[in-house]
Amino acid sequence: MITVKNLYHQFELGKKGNKTTLPVLEDISFRIQEKEIVAIKGRSGSGKSTLLNLISGFIRPTQGEIWINGTNVTELNETDFAEFRLQYIGFIFQNFQLIPSMTAFQNIELPLILKGTPASARQKIVEETLEKVGLQNHKEHYPSELSGGQQQRVSIARALVLNPPLILADEPTGSLDSETEENLLHFIEQLNRDLGITFLIITHDEQVARIGNRTIEIADGSLLEGSDSREI
């Protein structure tokens, strides 16, 4: 599903004439199989989010290749990457990233609108997805009118609505209490089991790492010895 080959990333800091570079990732290589749940662990500042943002295409690597579903995404231009994200990747963010001026329904509908699904078909798909996350009674609520857990379920519904084979999640439970977190993790396992969705989840908490089939650990920008990279 995902193959990362010799990935390097460094941030450029400072202004012109006074530039410094900050290497964050160095020679990262790993492979993730279909239908896996993989947790990425590591201390704060170790480069987990950077890795996920590279896979998402929000930033571009300094060096190396990322293959998703047979496509070398590092070669895609911005437009094609957007299209690729829409087709293949669902996102769950730490702070939900819902559009505050849109209702739960409208937030979930957004990917369908971007894809060009006709309005008549959208209604049914969104209703079904709302049901999947158990929010059929909250569809007219705005994000500010929902609890944190409910908001995260809306964002999961938005990630699911186009049936992507892959979902990327950066600390999805970071803003939730432990009970809600527990529920969310169960839900992720269930989606993985029932729909065969591959999950790549960043976490620094053991509980989340536990549901993963595997754990990849990053320390100081490199994969930690012993974490799973044998398959490359």
Partner: protein
């Protein structure tokens, strides 16, 4: 993403910022209205001047003076008239013969000396001649008289000093007061035979009066007689056109052909065909003159003036476009987090750009439409109000039919076009900026 959904997005965004969008639309509308009203003055005055010149038929007129053969000008005869009438783009060919003496007309106790012409009425009517009263002559002794003929018709037996006022105009009380229609008057022509003046009187019935000439300073005091009356006069004088022999017995002036016309005027169907007609005449060696060349100069002048006014008006639209630029920039900044989320999910930059361009074009379109409506209202008010103000303030009578402001649909098209182009252009940069928003920064609310 479907257009309908894009529109939905835009309309939601507009609803969220009603007042700001309204103000921007207002500014655009004012700019657009200013542009249209300003330019409409150029259009209105041009139109008024064209119409005024058109009204006295001068614009489509081609005067033909003669035909050149072997370096000599031949007077025009019926043969030439037939040729003119066969030309393409010709509406009418009027022709007249002048009586080469000024007869005295006597009506009851009044008398007048008037220029006398033979005209071909069917063609005059086709060319646009209208009567202020009465009808066209049907019988040989029926005549029509010019609109100002009445001012020649003075009471006889009044001495000259008494007859005229300080301005050398005849006093009203000595002018003929009754209707001229149906009145019978005597035309007296003279001829000198053996140093003896002989007089012949022909009785004529007035059946019509021509319309008031289009221009203030023009006067028509002529009497229009029929061909057979002319013949009668020619028989009496024994000369062409009733020319009076000089007392010495020798002929004066040019040799005249009986059938030739003194004045031939071709009326073209439209301004556009005047040129065509003139060219055809030229190839056939006719000498002709039309005012269309002078009109062309006027047209060029007004076209430059209109272009200048549109240019000045465009500045107002440009100023309004600053408002659109500002509004759109604010909209992009405000919505940056949303744009970041949309981009993260998979919105292509093109779509983001299109949504913002659509929003600014809608503002521009609304401004243009409202501006056009307002411009029409202002134009209407100016056309009614300004003459009233000028007339009461300066005590000056304005020419009837003068239009200060006119908005033809071409002007509306130009103005709306300028408005749309300017607003879309001013919305392009903010839209471009929206596409360049960094996803991660936007999601961290850092934009």
């Amino acid at each position: 993403m479907k257009f309908k959904d894009q529109y939905q997005f835009v309309s939601q965004n507009i609803k969220k910022n009603k007042i700001r969008v309204f103000m921007t639309v207002l500014a655009t509308a004012i700019g657009c209205a200013f542009l249209i009203v300003l330019a409409s003055v150029g259009f209105g005055l041009h139109d008024s001047i064209l119409k005024e010149t058109m009204e006295d038929r001068a614009v489509t007129e081609v005067q033909v003076h003669g035909r050149e053969t072997d370096g000599n000008y031949q007077p025009l005869t019926d043969e030439d008239i037939d040729f003119f009438e066969s030309l393409e783009g010709v509406k009418a060919v009027t022709r007249n013969k002048q009586l080469y003496q000024t007869p005295t007309y006597k009506l009851e106790d009044y008398q007048a000396q008037s220029n006398t012409l033979v005209s071909h009425f069917p063609s005059e009517v086709k060319a646009g001649l209208e009567l202020s009263e009465g009808r066209l002559p049907e019988k040989e002794n029926e005549v029509i008289v010019g609109y100002n003929f009445r001012s020649n018709l003075l009471l006889s037996d009044v001495n000259q000093e008494e007859l005229y006022n300080d301005q050398d105009e005849p006093k009203d009380k000595y002018l003929y007061q009754d209707s001229l229609i149906g009145k019978v008057m005597d035309m007296e022509v003279i001829q000198i035979n053996d140093n003896q003046e002989e007089t012949k009187s022909i009785s004529l019935k007035i059946v019509g009066v021509t319309e008031k000439p289009g221009r203030e300073w023009e006067e028509d005091r002529s009497v229009y007689i029929s061909n057979s009356v002319l013949k009668e006069v020619e028989e009496f004088t024994g000369t062409a056109r009733g020319m009076v022999d000089s007392p010495g017995g020798e002929q004066q002036g040019p040799e005249l052909e009986i059938g030739a016309y003194d004045q031939v005027t071709i009326y073209a169907t439209s301004i556009e065909t005047v040129k065509q007609v003139s060219e055809q005449l030229e190839t056939e060696n006719y000498a002709s003159y039309s005012v269309i060349s002078e009109m062309e100069q006027i047209n060029i002048l007004f076209t430059i003036m209109k272009a200048g006014l549109i240019l000045i008006g465009t500045i107002a639209v440009l100023i309004a476009s600053i408002g659109i630029y500002n509004t759109m920039t604010m909209a992009v900044t405000e919505r940056a987090p949303d744009i970041g989320i949309m981009k993260a999910i998979g919105a292509k930059p093109k779509i983001i750009k299109r949504i913002f361009v659509l929003e600014s074009s809608l503002i521009g379109l609304a401004g243009a439409v409202i501006g056009t409506i307002v411009a029409y209202v202002i134009s209407f008010a100016v056309n009614i109000g300004l003459p009233l103000i000028i007339e009461s303030a300066f005590n000056e009578e304005l020419p009837p039919g003068l239009k200060f402001s006119m908005i033809p649909w071409t002007l509306v098209l130009i103005a709306v076009g300028i408005c749309l182009v300017v607003t879309i252009l001013s919305g392009l940069r903010p839209a471009k900026r929206a596409t360049q928003i960094d996803v991660l920064k936007a999601m961290r609310r850092e934009v």
